[in-house]
Symmetry: C2
Subunit: 384 residues, 2 copies
Amino acid sequence: MSPRLPLPDDLPVTGAWRPGDPVGGRRFHRLPADRPFSLEGGEHLDGIEVAYETWGTLDADASNAVLVCHALTGDSHAAGRNGWWEGMIGPGRAIDTDRWFVVCSNVLGGCQGTTGPASDDPSTGRPYGSTFPVVTIRDMVRVQASLADALGVERWRSVVGGSMGGMQALEWGIILPERVRSLVLASTTSEASALQIAWSHIGRMAVQADPRFRGGDYYDAAPGDGPWRGLMVARMCAQVTYRSDEAFAARFHRSVIDRFAFTADPVFDVEGYLDYHGIKLVRRFDANSYLRLNRAMDLHDVARGRGSLEQALGRVQVPVQVVSVRSDGLYPPVQQHALRDALRALGVKVDDVDIDSPQGHDAFLIETGILGPRIAEFLRSIDD
Amino acid sequence: MSPRLPLPDDLPVTGAWRPGDPVGGRRFHRLPADRPFSLEGGEHLDGIEVAYETWGTLDADASNAVLVCHALTGDSHAAGRNGWWEGMIGPGRAIDTDRWFVVCSNVLGGCQGTTGPASDDPSTGRPYGSTFPVVTIRDMVRVQASLADALGVERWRSVVGGSMGGMQALEWGIILPERVRSLVLASTTSEASALQIAWSHIGRMAVQADPRFRGGDYYDAAPGDGPWRGLMVARMCAQVTYRSDEAFAARFHRSVIDRFAFTADPVFDVEGYLDYHGIKLVRRFDANSYLRLNRAMDLHDVARGRGSLEQALGRVQVPVQVVSVRSDGLYPPVQQHALRDALRALGVKVDDVDIDSPQGHDAFLIETGILGPRIAEFLRSIDD
């Protein structure tokens, strides 16, 4: 009578991108090899490579570039077929690629082509695994700045992101205020909350508790013998925190997969849904990246080393759009409203957008029909 | 740089109660051995034993008995030193043991003395483990009714419970309406929601994903070699869903355990808090019971087999107190308000209590100072 664990028979050892995997129109930028990249935490990385995609055409004066920053399990494939913001970015869409030159890069520490734990450490020729250092949102932004240099973008028309993407966008406005003309900060925060850290920690624990995680050095394991069970549990948790009670009630209520039975096996639709999303992630994502990016989010605190929140936000010199979603329990509106108020108190022009959606944290990905027009209008309002 | 998993060196193979463990003033009731107990799911159990405690004295006419039903990881030790509702039950307290004869029993499927997966199957002499059947809230109530018979309680002054305890209390009013004079339903629901099932499923997955779970047959393992990692992750998830963003923000914010560091190891207080509660649970609770009781909660749906919600609730013939907590994201007020409205529409007298607390689902355990006077008043209002 014990429930069964789903056992997909064709899982990779890790869901990380491997050279040769075709994903969108991905290209690569390599940071200068002659000097190591110093991380905020004190360590350094050599030979960082950045996977990115672009859509649209850069103007002659390079004034129409928009940087889109992805969230935790996103990647550089924001637009086009199966892009994670396909409904938002494209010809004639809110972030209109007929008008804007749109760039999206995979973050440092990720697993979709940018240097991360699954990448080979040039000093050993083997994957970093457990030796990959802790990275921060600020590190991600400084890597993106190198890409901007390479693309000839001195100043972004806007840096746009939701959740972890919004953390990056906000840090752009603080670290490199002269290189942005505006920021779009959706469903994000100026500092990770205790609740957000709690869920990050639980996701990490789920992965670490899987003996197949092997402390992070699992890349030599046989296919399917990686820490997919732990990562699956982590993703299932995340999937619930990204939605809401009302969204689940409307979508699943108590509907059953097949027929009702008194069984410990999955019987309700919502159980099948979570299993599906758990397995889906482990096919495409690396457990070590999951740990590192979650940690970068925990460490996000714009005030760190800058005196105070006000001193940090005081560096922002451009119009900011701040997006909240009523039903977001993970990044609740109180966080964005505090950010909005703090920016306004410092004289920053803030366009605040409160979205009345039941979709929770994921609304910034789902509700492109509501959010899109507001972002389009905001981008149009930004002077050259 | 990979984070460390806490490795307590003195964990039992299971946290289940073992004969001889002293816990409060626990006593035992054995169901008639001559007839097997038929479960709602179609299976049966032989020789069920029920662990219970009582406080106060039963009146000569047995009219002052109050049944307190525990939640998922609770047990029969509701009152007295370290009782889970110590602040609520006792001499001069809200549930006044100078006036009421208070009974609390460990639920069927539990692990604190009442028959559950860690108990010996009389047909084999070995623990049930994976063979323990699926049980339901209705089964729990029918076992409690046998205890009531043994105690000489024909009719409870009130059946009181929060969360899973409230599910039992509500089923008492439906299955055995003539044996209750009132019900107190705190932070509960007439049917488990998709969100509640989602978290239950994730908790089960976390346990099952632990290879030391061994499909549920781990009782022969060496101490510490049971599925404690999986159960720990499950508990950590639950611990967060039982609280709220605002409670965590007020208590932890971004405070650190020792000093801030750029590390993947726990650095924030909230991480240490979750580890502490995870480990604490695995010392006292059995993983198989966790799975079975979670499942019983998923299966809770008073309408099942009774035509409709209205037909089910129409059996309730006594005053009901329904308690909601503003910040409860797991059992949100919308559920209790729906239950209240449905009962009122059927002519039931409902005392509704909306508690303005930031403590989330656990408020019914924590806010005894607010809830206690309301329960006391309600109990006093119930005629002999």
